[in-house]
């Protein structure tokens, strides 16, 4: 290989003066039926997102009917309303608008994004979907069958299998978080139309619903349209539900899911994390960015760039009202499974040994500060951000003070967060891979007792 002379020789340029940015301003209104409206006018392109935050997440499901929150959400627009011959979902599509509703752990979010020209019709349909769903029996049976097919498919899909098995290893069986948010085969099969109607009657109530409108609309128009669509809906707020988050065990264990012929091992390594409203949230967010959140984080640079073990390795805190999972997630070649797990463990274990150097801390702080406006380019991103604020009960100036809160995180706060919230002694190591290639070297790590599961996820004693 020849060594060419340099064609340009410029030093790295200095940044210019930053321009101010604020999260879009929004106003709140309360209707007489208890429904709250938040409007964020943004007039960039002729597009509007309308979204409803409903206290109807997986944690509010009755026992033995896990999955009913998702079936209810997906069935909202499946039927006809009034005398109309056409199903609601199809009427949305004729406007070019797609309605979608999804149950999360704590809330259900229903939303529609439309061009401004169709906003009035879209909001009227949105109101019908929330307040007058007909829940046809046939469609409910179909949605159940689709969930059962998803479950079948996930058993063959190493990533999905690893994610599903990991939460089972993490949480006590009594916790709702130990089971798939969309429900398992037994409980989904048991759901009837009556269960769906009962869940909707109990949880879909204007007293606890917030509608968020973001985009090319005035506050006055949004208020008028939402009032017409949802103003006469009646119902008091249901009792908020919350999951318990106790871990399955407080000591380390390996969980090996045998998948014959696996071309790779899917690795999950972690433990129960902390609730979203914990006062250490910002320190933990900065800490995780450095540990495994950024491309140039310690874990990714180690596993991908130094060792070439993987296409990517990342760590996450899954933020929920109760303590969601903390985990490192990666996929590696079978023959380096134990080495990759060892390196991830090393990074986790030593993170709390010392505070990060100023330059390393700046990597995370400057990223989180700078990327803030890039996160809110679209109406759906703005509406979702406001929905998150509402769901977690964050203050209305949360986004205005976000960057200052990130900037206030000190090296010492990051080290304290690592010591308090990373628990190397409680880690659960979940592997989906070919047992004959990975078991021996993994056992030699002496990480903890090993539990084996077959490729359908059944534990073998």
């Amino acid at each position: 290989m020849t060594t060419p002379t340099l064609v340009t020789d410029f030093p790295q340029p200095e940044p210019g003066q930053p321009r101010d940015y604020s999260f879009p301003t929004f106003g709140s209104y309360q209707f007489s039926n208890g429904l709250r409206l938040v409007v964020a006018p943004v007039h960039k392109l002729p597009v509007v997102t309308v979204l409803a935050v409903i206290e109807a997440g997986a944690v509010s499901e009755p026992v033995n009917r896990e999955g009913v929150a998702q079936i209810t959400a997906r069935a909202l627009a499946e039927g006809r309303a009034g005398d109309d011959a056409m199903e609601l979902a199809d009427r949305f599509e004729l406007l070019g608008a797609s309605f979608g509703a999804r149950a999360d752990w704590e809330i259900t979010v229903a939303s529609v994004t439309t061009t401004t020209g169709h906003l009035a019709d879209a909001v009227a349909l949105f109101g019908e979907a929330l307040t007058a769903p007909s829940f046809p029996e046939r469609e409910i049976e179909r949605l159940k069958a689709e969930r059962l097919s998803d479950l079948l498919q996930r058993r063959m899909e190493p990533r999905g299998l690893a994610d599903d098995m990991f939460v089972r290893a993490l949480y006590d069986a009594e916790s709702r978080y130990a089971r798939a948010d969309e429900g398992e085969a037994e409980t989904v099969s048991a759901i009837t139309r009556d269960d769906v109607v009962a869940f909707w009657s109990e949880r879909y109530r204007p007293g606890s619903v917030t509608v968020v409108v973001a985009g090319d609309v005035t506050a006055e128009d949004a208020r008028r349209l939402v009032e017409a669509a949802l103003g006469s809906w009646q119902g008091e707020a249901p009792i908020p539900a919350q999951a318990t988050d106790q871990p399955a065990r407080l000591t380390r264990a390996v969980h090996l899911v045998h998948k014959p012929d696996a071309a790779q091992t899917e690795i999950r390594l972690g433990h129960v994390g902390l609730p979203r409203l914990h006062p250490d949230y910002f320190a933990v967010t900065v800490m995780n960015a450095l540990l495994g959140g950024l491309f140039n984080s310690r874990i990714n640079l180690n596993l991908r760039e130094a060792h070439g073990y993987t296409y990517g390795a990342h760590s996450y805190f899954d933020w929920r009202r109760a303590a969601g999972p903390f985990l490192v997630s990666t996929a590696v070649a079978s023959d380096v499974t134990h080495l990759a797990a060892q390196e991830a463990l090393k990074e986790l274990t030593r993170f709390g040994d010392a505070p990060p150097e100023a330059r390393e801390l700046a990597l995370a702080v400057d990223y989180l500060d700078g990327v803030f406006p890039i996160r809110y380019e679209s109406t759906s991103a703005i509406a979702s951000a406001i929905a998150g604020m509402i769901s977690f009960g964050l203050p209305e100036d949360y986004y205005d003070s976000y960057r200052d809160n990130v900037r206030a995180v000190t090296p010492q706060a990051v080290q304290d967060a690592a010591r308090r919230h990373l628990h190397p002694d409680r880690l659960q190591l979940l592997l989906v891979g070919n047992e004959s290639e990975i078991r021996g070297p993994v056992e030699a790590m002496e990480f903890g007792p090993l539990f084996r599961y077959d490729d359908e996820g059944r534990r073998e004693e």
Partner: protein, 438 residues
């Protein structure tokens, strides 16, 4: 829909530049397309264009390995790159006061990549790419369809036939000499489009582009691609049955269709939306909702601009539905549209959905910049971004029915039918392709 503002010019080196201002937020996207992809690879070097994309993040004369990622992350930006059959793109969105940094980084690797290349970096990225291959193709149910479909749809000597991800053997064979040769041939300003979209000062930005990219010399020209042209029809229905580690049968059925941006393209695209876009589409209505033989159905065009495009129908069976039944049911719906055509209401639904999705996607500076680079790379004309919706609105039911009559018949089909593997034998790997991120 307001027009996207566009200012287009070229440097003497041949670098095409597109500027598009939008000052609603203090952010700017820098997007660079090189007109090279897996189609340009030589025999024995499948996967090289994508491996090379990884090497572009391994530093250049003034930038250390992974420092491009680090500097952009420190600036508060997002970034990546991706490789496709006939182009490779590199993109970042940064706070607008960091525009000069992004331009300096892109120019340094366009001008000064080779001094930073080492055998060790190549070896590590080769391992990373092999793991990417395992993750996206080998260890995923149905993951091989990205490779099998082009292998089936394009003749063996066609540049789109072979695997974009590449074979493990070819990845092993790639050398630093290959890196140097590929760089000199394809990573030249006259084979690139630079788009800057968002919050910037046009006078200052032109000066930055001149300063950092101006000195990089034009290339010696790239070898022409082999003849890409193909007849409009396959001529028959070629079927491949693929036993795989899956629970449910899945049919991937493709038709040759007019290339992206050509006169017949928009009718083909609308036909795809009528067949498989969202809940009210033909396949979702008939197979998922009414007859309940499928758990999922979609249809889309590949948007290829050379040779022939592909319209693809992708349907997964419900449990208990056999592979044979699935194929019959899909064929029945396709035959119906082929013989009976479509209605005006179906076209209206499809065009309304496509329009919303186009407008929605243009909200982000990064996707605006990427679309502008696309139109400039393929057609030399970024203004096409502003006429796309009009082309869709002009499509009539007769246009779509004509397309369906000409192209959806049994004389223009290839299909992959995935079936649950029973005997434990893993099928042999074949050549193919996929769009992949760094």
């Amino acid at each position: 829909m307001p027009k996207i503002p566009i200012d287009q010019y070229s440097l003497p080196s041949g670098l095409q530049v597109v500027l598009s201002e939008d000052h609603t937020a203090p952010i700017v996207a820098v997007n660079l397309w090189y007109h090279v992809g897996s189609a340009n690879e030589r025999a024995g070097r499948t996967g090289f264009a994508h491996l090379f994309e990884h090497m572009l993040f391994q530093g250049s004369a003034h930038v250390a390995a992974n420092e491009h990622f680090e500097l952009i992350e420190r600036a508060g930006g997002t970034l990546n790159g991706s490789t496709w059959l006939d182009r490779t793109n590199y993109f970042q969105t940064v706070p607008s006061n960091q525009l000069e940094l992004a331009l300096w980084l892109e120019a340094d690797r366009m001008g000064n990549l080779l001094p930073a290349m080492t055998q060790q970096k190549l070896d590590t990225q080769r391992d990373v790419v092999k793991n990417e291959r395992r993750w996206t193709v080998d260890n995923q149910p149905y993951g091989s369809w990205w490779e099998r479909l082009p292998a089936l749809a394009f003749p063996p000597d066609h540049p789109f036939h072979h695997s974009l991800m590449g074979s493990m053997d070819d990845l092993d064979a790639a050398s630093l000499d290959d890196v140097a040769e590929f760089f000199a041939t394809y990573y030249t300003p006259d084979n690139a489009v630079l788009t800057i979209a968002g919050d910037f000062d046009p006078v200052e930005t032109r000066a930055y582009v001149e300063r950092y990219f101006g000195p990089i010399p034009r290339g010696a020209g790239k070898p022409p691609l082999r003849d890409m042209s193909l007849p409009p029809l396959f001529g028959d229905w070629r079927r491949e049955v693929v036993p795989d580690d899956v629970m449910l049968p899945r049919l991937i059925l493709a038709f040759r269709s007019p290339v992206f941006g050509s006169q017949g393209y928009w009718a083909a695209s609308v036909c795809g939306a009528i067949l498989g876009m969202r809940r009210g589409s033909r396949l979702q209505r008939a197979l998922v909702r009414e007859r309940q033989v499928a758990s999922d159905a979609s249809a889309f065009t590949y948007d290829l601009t050379k040779g022939s495009d592909l319209l693809v129908v992708d349907v997964t069976a419900r449990p208990e539905i056999s592979a044979g039944r699935l194929e019959e049911e899909v064929a029945r719906e396709v035959d119906l549209i082929h013989t009976q055509g479509v209605t005006g209401a179906e076209v209206a639904r499809a065009v309304a959905l496509i329009e919303t999705s186009l407008v929605t996607s243009l909200q982000s500076a990064g996707s605006r910049a990427d679309r502008l680079s696309l139109y400039t790379t393929y057609f030399g004309d970024p203004q096409r971004i502003n006429s796309e919706i009009d082309h869709y609105r002009a499509v009539s039911a007769a246009d779509v029915s004509n397309f369906a009559r000409e192209r959806l018949g049994p004389d223009n089909r290839v299909s992959l039918l995935y079936v649950p593997r029973e005997d434990g034998a893993r099928p042999d790997a074949v050549d193919g392709k996929t769009e992949v991120a760094a």
